[in-house]
Symmetry: C2
Subunit: 258 residues, 2 copies
Amino acid sequence: MLTHPAPGAEIAPAAALMGDPARAAMLTALLDQRALAAGELAHLAGVSPPTASNHLARLLDGGLVTVVRAGRHRYYRLAGREVAAAIEALSHLATPAPVRSLHQSRQAAALARARLCYDHLAGQAGVALLDALLAGGILVGCACSGPEAAARAGFEVTAAGECALATFGVDVRALRRSRRRFAGPCLDWTERRPHLNGALGAAITTRLMELGWIERGDRRRAVRITPAGHAGLTAAFGCALSPLPDAWAADRTARRAD
Amino acid sequence: MLTHPAPGAEIAPAAALMGDPARAAMLTALLDQRALAAGELAHLAGVSPPTASNHLARLLDGGLVTVVRAGRHRYYRLAGREVAAAIEALSHLATPAPVRSLHQSRQAAALARARLCYDHLAGQAGVALLDALLAGGILVGCACSGPEAAARAGFEVTAAGECALATFGVDVRALRRSRRRFAGPCLDWTERRPHLNGALGAAITTRLMELGWIERGDRRRAVRITPAGHAGLTAAFGCALSPLPDAWAADRTARRAD
DNA sequence: AGAATGCTTGGGCTACGGTCGAAATATGCC
DNA sequence: GGCATATTTCGACCGTAGCCCAAGCATTCT
């Protein structure tokens, strides 16, 4: 029946767009808020340029991505945080991909260590950073009450924290003026513990990039913590990042034992 | 290539399952944590029993639903909160369904007023309830700090609030022992403001049902606030619920005018 | 201007998935 | 035991979506 597209099926179009492996790969590749050219996306998804173009046109039509033309390139990016959130939510359901190769397993490990969750740091590093911010008294659970609390529910910066963040290079007061949610927990799908979200999470991450404390891995949303970053994070936030060296050490020991 | 299912496409299977209109309708119908029989789901989705059975087998295989056999019926329900969360996240992306009929528009309005978001109250009523709980000093933004804060980020119950909730019939201390996240904000996709989530949100909603203050609309996840509920909510939490009576009154006037 | 690069369009092939009718299986009721 | 109901399995049909090749625009480089 034409008049009967089944009530409650509103999510189907968007879900269907994410339901194709090639498109899913493209969307996942765009999760780190970068804009990628059509050709790159085609390569990443393992399909030919015409096929990719077709997929991208669909994604564009469905409002999941936006495009900007720059010369002979067309750069695509996710249409917004809602899209990223939906992809993240779906990854919680995803059966962990079977490990097919050493290369893949190393990549997965890198992703678990540190990655971008759209515009903020995630993975073991993201979780460790939030823990350090809380332990160091820079952030506390938001204590505001009244009608304001609902919108702000999440974390607040202490007076001392505001100072520390200013030294680090993040202007908290400016962030507060933004309409975006200030700071909240975002459940990490590899760690199953929260990392820092919102305007503050994004700003800190941007600053980490500027300082060269973290840098993007090539063509994945993996992120690498530089030696300078390791030192800086320890100094600025007392962020031990303990899981990382430990994991490495354990890994080495295990390999040596082989 | 068989060895090349495109990295980053892990979300595709789950998304594809949600990408069919019939399956999407079924999943959405299950959003209120009820278990529905295969036949009902077939009717709801507007497909024949065999087709529905096929879809349900796929959903089962994909781990999105579970099934229990009771006599000659088979009751399906969502496999967990992660599934519900993914569906919710996708609805944020969904183009609001065009209004086709008066009936549909009434249903949509009812859904916007009050509905279940898996296991807790959402819609205007959900948002109003959270506002009231915060305004009444029953809940405050969680002020705990240290490593614990991350996991608990959200809301906390005050001493006075614990007392008020006990009178209402919710044992806060018991809830705290549960492994589930205690209380947090859940962005409402119709109101674009948060409503109450977590073990506390679920417990309060269950209790509202027990008291007969709210009751399910038939075969949708819409919820109706009873007169007793209106009185009780005002008395217990000072919850004005102003949008509801207004909407009803306006609605009735409009109908009488016909 | 002419060639090379990046991307999209059109055509045609294939295959998979959604659909239903009919029949089989299981359960409950009388 | 026999009939009605609930659900699944089987088989067949059809539409459509994904894929690539080849050709067509657009842009940039030399």
